[in-house]
Amino acid sequence: MIDVKNLRFSYKKGHETLRGLTFAVDDGEIFGFLGPNGSGKSTTQKILTGILGGYCGEALLFGQKPDAHPMDFRSQIGVLFEFPYLYTNLSALDNLNYFASFYPAGRRRNAAELLEMLEFKKEFLRKPVSSYSKGMRQRVSMARALIHNPRLLFLDEPTSGLDPSGAVLFRKIIEEERRKGTTVFLTTHNMLDADLLCDRVAFIADGEINALDTPQKLKEQKNSNMAEVTYLYENKRCTVSVELSRLSRVFPFPHDKIISIHTKEPTLEDIFIQYTGKGLIS
């Protein structure tokens, strides 16, 4: 679906924003693109969505360059931007009907049904977007990205501005889209979204991909195989980290009572920091 080889891009001479990205995304895959602000995530997405040209290397989507047949290409992609860009003077329905009008009639979804699926408050359907909360605007933006049943969905921070239940709903909808065969390119620095949704993730920092694999494999590669044991000894509460292999028979330290044992699995963010030396939110 997406095939990127040695992708390079510079906004200014002498400073490369993207420094030779190479990756591929399969049909029906949810691919996570993780990186801190300024790492080149949005630039990559802009190139892949055909907004930005003038790059070096190869970027093929549906087997062709985004600017080869732009109208045909754009009718197959859905884009959710980081911020909910909508006409604030129009209502949710008017916004969706307007954006839907650019796609073939046979592919358009019903705007009202889509908003209902996104648990959008009915009483706001015909009110102007200027009166909406950030979460409601994000729902309308998501509906806009899905309105024409795209084959490839670009999502930039989809759960930003949503409350926890809204984030769960969005993750469920993204999963459903994948089940229908839609490929998802997820750009985020939300490690939970990436961990729960993505089949594979790529870590990008300073315009380079530092690691690319399934979240599980990435975690296993850097797993320290340590357990954290909390125990009582001479009426004192103590905690020690012990290698799992050393816990096979007896606890290798004096103790009166074991309170708890937790394996220390790294989070995706821990892995990211280990690979790039940077936090996801920098």
Partner: protein
């Protein structure tokens, strides 16, 4: 494709409604018409007030438009406003008095006018090629000025302001991922603003020139108004595409208003004459509109060819720049 165009037009129309563009245009129409009908045409002022000091009463043939002064001092005082002209007929040869305007041609014109009032019966070889009442001349002149101002200022600002609004809402970036060409995005806005400007031009002309006089010049006025509207709207749109913020745009607007339109008004409506003004594109647009209001011969083919080339170039430049600038948004 028809549905896409309709959808774009509908959205742009609603944006214009939301930005109160139509309300502003209606307000301008009412304000201009009130000023023309209630103030301007009622200012029944002579071209230059002429004061005559004739202690012996020898100038019996002088026009009644010349205001008689009791003394030379009174006449001098009246002329000190820098506008009026005095005639001292106390000597053998009448002498003209005035505060110079600083422009020789204007001073000569004022003196000639004063002399014409002193000797109204003197025969001059004049071939009359048409009649125009003073009121109708004033109406045509001021209507033309207001229309030029409205189309230049609001045309430049109007289309650009909708683009800035879309930039501010971020939706301009969304359009770069939609299967719609930049050409349609620009065309949709342009068509709506052109239609609004033409309706405005027609109403302003008919209300202030009257139906019969207005209809006689309306086709020519509409053509010139259309050209001016498209040129200004595209120029404003291009500036809005290139400039990041509305503040920068407003500054440019002020510079354009002061340095571009002011010399055009001065050269077109006063005795001031500059050789370089013929190279000023706005001057030609203004004169073409003025000629249309006075039913004069339409501008030549070169004028229309240059206008067409300018519109086409601006349109292509905008479409090209818009795509580039869309990528910068967000």
């Amino acid at each position: 494709m028809r549905y896409v165009v309709f959808s774009l037009l509908k959205k742009d129309f609603r944006l214009m409604l939301a930005s109160k563009f139509f309300l502003l245009a209606l307000g301008s129409l009412i304000l201009y018409s009130c000023y023309i009908n209630l103030v301007y045409v009622r200012l029944d002022q002579e071209i230059y007030p002429v004061y005559l000091y004739d202690p012996m009463g020898v100038q019996s043939t002088a026009s009644s438009a010349a205001i008689r002064s009791e003394s030379a001092e009174q006449m001098h005082q009246a002329c000190s406003d820098g506008y009026s002209v005095g005639i001292d007929a106390s000597g053998r040869v009448p002498r003209i008095y005035m505060v110079s305007s600083g422009i020789r041609r204007t001073d000569n014109s004022r003196a000639a006018y004063a002399v014409s009032l002193l000797f109204p019966d003197s025969e001059t070889k004049t071939v009359v090629i048409g009649t125009n009442t003073k009121e109708m001349k004033n109406r045509r002149e001021i209507t033309c000025e207001f229309l030029f101002f409205e189309l230049s200022a609001v045309g430049f600002l109007g289309l650009a302001s909708t683009l800035f609004k879309e930039k501010q809402m971020g939706v301009i970036l969304v359009h770069s991922t939609l299967p719609v060409s930049q050409t349609y995005i620009v065309l949709s806005k342009l068509v709506l603003f052109l239609a609004a400007d033409l309706i405005f031009a027609a109403l302003l002309t008919l209300v202030n020139l009257g139906v019969s006089q207005g209809l006689s010049v309306l086709p020519a006025v509409m053509i010139q108004a259309g050209i001016l509207s498209v040129v200004m709207a595209l120029t404003g749109f291009f500036c809005a595409v290139c400039l990041q913020g509305f503040r920068q745009f407003s500054l440019l607007y002020l510079i354009l208003a002061v340095f571009v339109t002011t010399p055009v008004f001065l050269a077109g409506q006063t005795g001031i004459s500059w050789k370089w003004i013929r190279y000023h594109p706005m001057y030609h647009l203004f004169m073409a509109l003025k000629n249309a209001y006075f039913g004069m011969k339409p501008a030549g083919n070169i004028y229309y060819a240059v206008c067409a080339a300018a519109v086409l170039s601006l349109f292509m430049l905008i479409c090209r720049t818009l795509k580039h600038e869309m990528a910068k948004e967000g």
